[in-house]
């Protein structure tokens, strides 16, 4: 039991990145409004990050503040901003919203009602940042019995045995700190980097990203010994631990 009434956790969310490329902010806001009117549901209450790294001139702090207010009027919630780390504006420590570290982003396709002409000097580009969200690890402390099936979206750690006739699946890695006698399928959604580790390899079947091996084949390599299963060039490699 804990005395705390809250819990602090890390989380990764997908947001819209607004790359500012010119200083004509009024024009940007106008164009953005037009875009939002075409697909209002896409931007509704959307969290947004202002990115100044593509801006070659310096943006004054009051202009930046005005931009935040204008974006709020459009229904966008500015949650932070970022800029080129070597080319920070002089006021970077005074900004009212958090400054975020730079990272890679890729352009995404926005559902567009119909393409409209944009003036060449003002370009608004929306970039959505997407990262692989790490899934929580599942830890099992009781034996997995024949006929039982356990699936983890992340890694799966089993502190005891997996009986013959049982099946364990994970999108990530599988660790078995006991005998692995049933079936183990790691990288169930196609992650070829996933691995299987076990204290005693006696499995009916091991599989990584759909590439599998049966017990007859395993017996010839490692049997009833600690082992790991790795996928190398579409074939399973069984090595002692």
């Amino acid at each position: 039991m804990t005395d705390l009434g809250f819990q602090l956790k890390g989380s990764v969310v997908t947001t819209i990145l607004l790359e500012i490329q010119t200083l004509s902010l009024d024009s940007i806001v106008a164009q953005l409004r037009e875009k939002i009117e075409q697909v209002p549901h896409f931007f509704n209450q959307a969290p947004i990050i202002i990115d100044l790294s593509k801006l070659e001139q310096d943006l004054p702090l009051d202009a930046f503040d005005t931009l935040i207010v204008s974006l709020a009027d459009l229904g966008l919630g500015v949650i932070g901003w970022r800029c080129d780390q070597e080319n920070k504006p002089t006021w970077f420590s005074q900004a009212r919203i958090p400054m975020l570290p730079a990272s890679k982003a890729r352009p995404i396709l926005i559902p567009e009602a119909k393409p409209k002409e944009t003036s060449p000097d003002v370009v608004v580009k929306t970039v959505v940042e997407e990262r692989l969200v790490p899934q929580a690890t599942k830890v099992i402390t009781k034996p997995i019995r024949s006929g039982q099936q356990v699936y983890a979206e992340g890694d799966l750690i089993i502190l005891t045995q997996v009986s013959a006739g049982a099946e364990v699946l994970a999108d990530g890695n599988i660790h078995v700190y006991g005998a692995l006698r049933g079936r183990a399928l790691a990288g169930a959604k196609g992650d070829t980097q996933a691995r299987i580790f076990c204290k005693s390899l006696e499995a009916e079947l091991v599989s990584i990203a759909g590439n599998f091996m049966l017990s007859d084949a395993l017996r010839k390599i490692i049997w009833k010994e600690p082992a790991q299963v790795v996928l190398i060039d579409d074939s399973l490699d069984i090595t002692p631990l």
Binding site: P143, S146, Q161, A164
Partner: protein, 269 residues
């Protein structure tokens, strides 16, 4: 509150009813008021093993359906004080058992008895699930051969996922392994799994090992629980198992191949 113990296995013919009769009798012999319930509706056997088949008038299903009271259906054992049997119905099937009905009977028995032994039918379907649903402890009867061990493993999974204790998130059912029909000679030549093989696969504490014995068949045919035959190894092994169930320490015996005695060798026996 009574302690509810299910005797189960998954596989049929491994010795569930023999073990239920022996262990129920053993507990009653220690002075605890005990009832053994036959959950094998449609394949009634416990009454035969207990030698009370001619005294069955009402059964478990009659009580569930309120066609008879518990006191009408309970059969008092003639040999062992403090021991009662609740026979199964031979003319009905497992669908006659309902969670509410079984619970009502167990609740009523709990007021009067210290131990309730539920003799489970084979399989993992309704009858077996009803027998284990309310259990506090389970005795998993296993023969030293691969299919029996596999089925016991399956039933252990069901004990930990489909019992009331599991569903209500309470302390899990206490598990005991009872290895029956053990044949040390066949283990030695690799025809049978050894005690340690089975323990390794099932990973639950060992309650006892009952050696294969002619006394078991003889006792069944006579309608006497084998535990009452204190001349036989099986009877003694069951007594040890009951002692362990009650928390006493008993060394395992009858696991070694019996050497011929000096006189037997001398006389060429």
């Amino acid at each position: 509150m009574a302690k509810i113990i299910v005797v189960t296995s998954g596989k049929g013919g491994v010795g569930k009813t023999t073990s239920s009769a022996a262990i129920g009798t053993g507990i009653a012999l220690k002075g605890h008021k005990t009832v053994i319930i036959d959950f094998d509706v449609g394949l009634r056997n416990l009454d035969l093993i207990m030698g009370c088949e001619r005294r069955v008038v009402y059964d478990f299903v009659n009580v569930i359906n309120k066609e008879a009271t518990l006191s009408q259906a309970l059969i008092k054992d003639k040999r062992t004080k403090d021991l009662f049997i609740l026979p199964a119905s031979q003319t009905r099937d497992k669908d006659a058992l309902t969670i509410e009905g079984v619970q009502a009977v167990l609740d009523e028995l709990s007021k009067e008895f210290e131990y309730i032994i539920c003799d489970s039918p084979a399989g993992i379907e309704k009858g077996a699930q009803m027998a284990l649903y309310f259990a506090d402890a389970a005795i998993v009867v296993t023969n030293p051969e691969v299919s029996s061990v596999r089925d016991s493993d399956r039933i252990l999974g069901i004990l930990q996922s489909k019992s009331r204790r599991a569903e209500e998130g309470k302390e899990p059912i206490e598990e005991h392994l009872l290895l029956t029909r053990y044949h040390p000679e066949r283990v030695a030549i690799g025809e049978m799994l050894s005690v340690s093989d089975v323990e390794d696969i099932l990973a639950i504490p060992l309650l006892g090992v009952i050696p294969e014995s002619e006394a078991v068949l003889k006792a069944s045919n006579q309608g006497t629980p084998v535990i009452l035959d204190q001349e036989s190894e099986a009877g003694l092994a069951y007594t040890d198992a009951v002692d362990r169930l009650m928390g006493e320490e008993r060394p395992l015996r009858f696991l070694e191949i019996q050497k011929k005695g000096f006189f037997k060798r001398l006389l060429g026996g």
